[in-house]
Subunit: 146 residues, 2 copies
């Protein structure tokens, strides 16, 4: 019988300095929690600070793709579960999911007001003439990477 | 003759609390700078704090995809240029690029050491049995979104 897979995981609490004026976790601080979680995984694969220093190794992020599913508030307990989706001799493709016991229901979205929509359109029209945006539309995946 | 497009932009300086033990900007704080830049754009389209409060509107991030191209050190001056790639009645697809006058040359990458590679493989093998990772492989784009 296959053993259940226990995923490496990281826990944290949403700090006061991470939330916006509405008391919600700012987008960049989801990424910070994922970054702290990745530090744990890096330790688990045998590259804690001391080893990196001794062997003169370093790990850095090449690419990240975040999907925001729920708002999280100050003080919320969060847990990040991590999977290794792929790897080659020097790269890892990780998949991290954040869970929280106390997020609220998703907030309904409404359309842009007309004046705001008009300004959005002005920017979009002006920017349409520019050369292609180099990294837009990329997919993360080690098999597809060159 | 078409007018040159002046992109909305944001400037900041890499703060001491954003760098790791090597003095390099941590991955999540690139995202924080992009987040601050987006705040500026939100103001420019006519949704500053006061308007959002008065109209009971809110803006939040659905998805973000970051590509890390260079290390940046503490104290570096950075500039973020922003483009609107697409929009619908309530969503914006933005493209942001960060520039810095004083990043160093890219650091050469080396392969994982054998012991580290073995642990990476163990995780990857264990995680291969899991159900598909829901959001892996996604592409950001309003036309493709449903």
């Amino acid at each position: 019988m296959p053993q259940p897979v226990v995923l490496p995981s990281y826990q944290d609490t949403v700090r006061a300095e991470w939330v916006d004026y509405n008391g919600h976790l700012r987008d960049a601080f989801y990424m910070l929690i994922f970054s702290f979680a990745t530090d744990v995984l890096i330790d688990l694969i045998g590259l804690p600070d001391a080893v990196r220093t001794a062997r003169r190794r370093s790990i850095y992020t090449l690419e990240a793709h975040l999907n925001y599913l729920h708002e999280i508030k100050e003080g919320a307990q969060v847990r990040v579960d991590m999977r290794v989706l792929g790897h080659d001799a020097k790269r890892l493709h990780l998949y991290l999911e954040m869970f929280s016991g106390n997020h609220g229901e998703p907030v309904a979205a409404v359309a842009f007001d007309h004046d705001v929509a008009a300004r959005v359109r002005e920017f979009a029209d002006a920017h349409a003439a520019l050369p292609p945006a180099r990294f837009a539309g990329r997919v993360i995946g080690l098999r597809a990477a060159t």
